[in-house]
Symmetry: C2
Subunit: 249 residues, 2 copies
């Protein structure tokens, strides 16, 4: 029996998704909650490894309860989990999937959103959910960022947009959709792709902001991608602005 569960969590009080002994991680909490629901150690597998401080509104996990565990109907799982969950983590929905299903390898596309809040003073209601950016951007920042964003579309070797020290062999990824939206003080960068390198979305967000503020030109992006050099791209935007928005299978 294998469940696919869509969960949401506010990242700020987690040391990322992946289990680490002695630290509060999403997987650590899920292991505990699943053991309480099913009365035994479950196998919990995530669709991705989000970093410390990164949030998710649609993170997918598989749960495999132990032999002989109570057979809880999938639609009842979110409510069955509720009493055991902390307030920054929730089961949104659940369904049964075939044993062959893998929440990471079977992902078709993922959408991440990165939110920058442009204001001299922070918003207490969005603490831990946005990058508070207190510097005023020039008036043409948005069209420049949109022009730059378009250069990321398609299949590219994104080595320049991967944190140094990563040991991934194939650094080619395909970006299907890029949007830069503004609503009030919030600039949202939405990126949909078939997969992402370590810190890739945060480096793209930081680079787009460098274009918005005038440090880089929109047409610098193709040569930065072609260089494959991390140092040519912009800063890594902080984790709190990042959210895994949608996972599709």
């Amino acid at each position: 029996m294998k469940y696919l569960v869509r969960i949401a969590y506010l990242g700020e009080k987690f040391y990322g998704f992946q289990y680490q002994p002695g630290r509060r991680t999403v997987q650590g909490e899920l292991n505990r909650v699943c053991e309480q629901i099913f009365g035994g150690v479950c196998r919990v597998t995530g669709c991705s490894r989000t970093d410390r401080g990164v949030s998710a509104r649609d993170f997918c996990i598989s749960i495999e309860p132990p032999e002989g565990a109570p057979r809880i109907p999938a639609r009842k799982l979110p409510l069955a989990a509720l009493p055991f969950l902390p307030r920054d983590l929730v089961f949104v929905s659940a369904r049964i999937v075939p044993e062959s299903f893998h929440p990471r390898y079977d992902v078709k596309t993922k959408e991440y959103r990165y939110v920058i809040r442009c204001s001299p003073t922070p918003d207490p209601f969005l603490a831990g959910q946005v990058w508070e950016y207190p510097v005023t951007l020039p008036k043409n920042a948005l069209p420049r960022m949109r022009e730059a964003a378009a250069h990321f579309l398609g299949k590219h070797d994104f080595a320049a947009f991967m944190a140094q020290g990563s040991d991934v062999k194939d650094t080619t990824r395909t970006v299907f959709c890029m949007k830069v939206l503004k609503k009030g003080k919030l600039i949202t960068v939405s990126i949909t792709g078939d997969g992402f390198l370590y810190n890739m979305v945060r480096i793209i967000a930081g680079t787009l902001l460098d274009v918005g503020s005038g440090k880089l030109e929109p047409d610098d992006i193709p040569s930065i991608i072609a260089s494959k050099e991390r140092k040519r791209a912009g800063v890594t935007a902080p984790p709190e602005g990042l959210c895994l928005w949608k996972v599709s299978y």
Copy 2:
């Protein structure tokens, strides 16, 4: 010298606005912050007393620094305060007002918003900012709530909508505007009036939800108001859904 400062705070970690020794209150934090900015004890006066757990997006305070304190230009005050403020409290804007100005007595209208989130599972991103209401409402809940809401408009004796034990003499208030809006899972009740009795907005929100769920009829409202009996009205909705949204002078 008297400043009028518009502040915002997330209420969940405060024991309300008003200073209480040994407890974390908004006024307590403001006293400390103002003393740090101006180098001496300031007189801090609020526009209202919000309860424990209630938030504000536009709460107004006056600050009177002591004699001889540094003369900080009003427009610089929000940034001057920033290093001393906790993350759930922010100075949004400031201006100089005449000595005669009083942030409570000079209020013309206040708008409160009460947000109910209708879903079986809570939203971690809105923890402490909405009333999580896990019961499914009937399909006609919204039009019924709107019909009921209209009965609150105008000048009434709202004694039935005041927490028992209050010792206010004049319980007549005027409601200028009532809106019941739905966006996704969120129902927002917006109430603008010249003033509000203790717990009045929370009792109105609870009563409207009783109409939405079918426990009361929209046309019950006039007779509940006329009765002046607290027990005829609905439950007091919990504090976390309430936010002081706008104060006008």
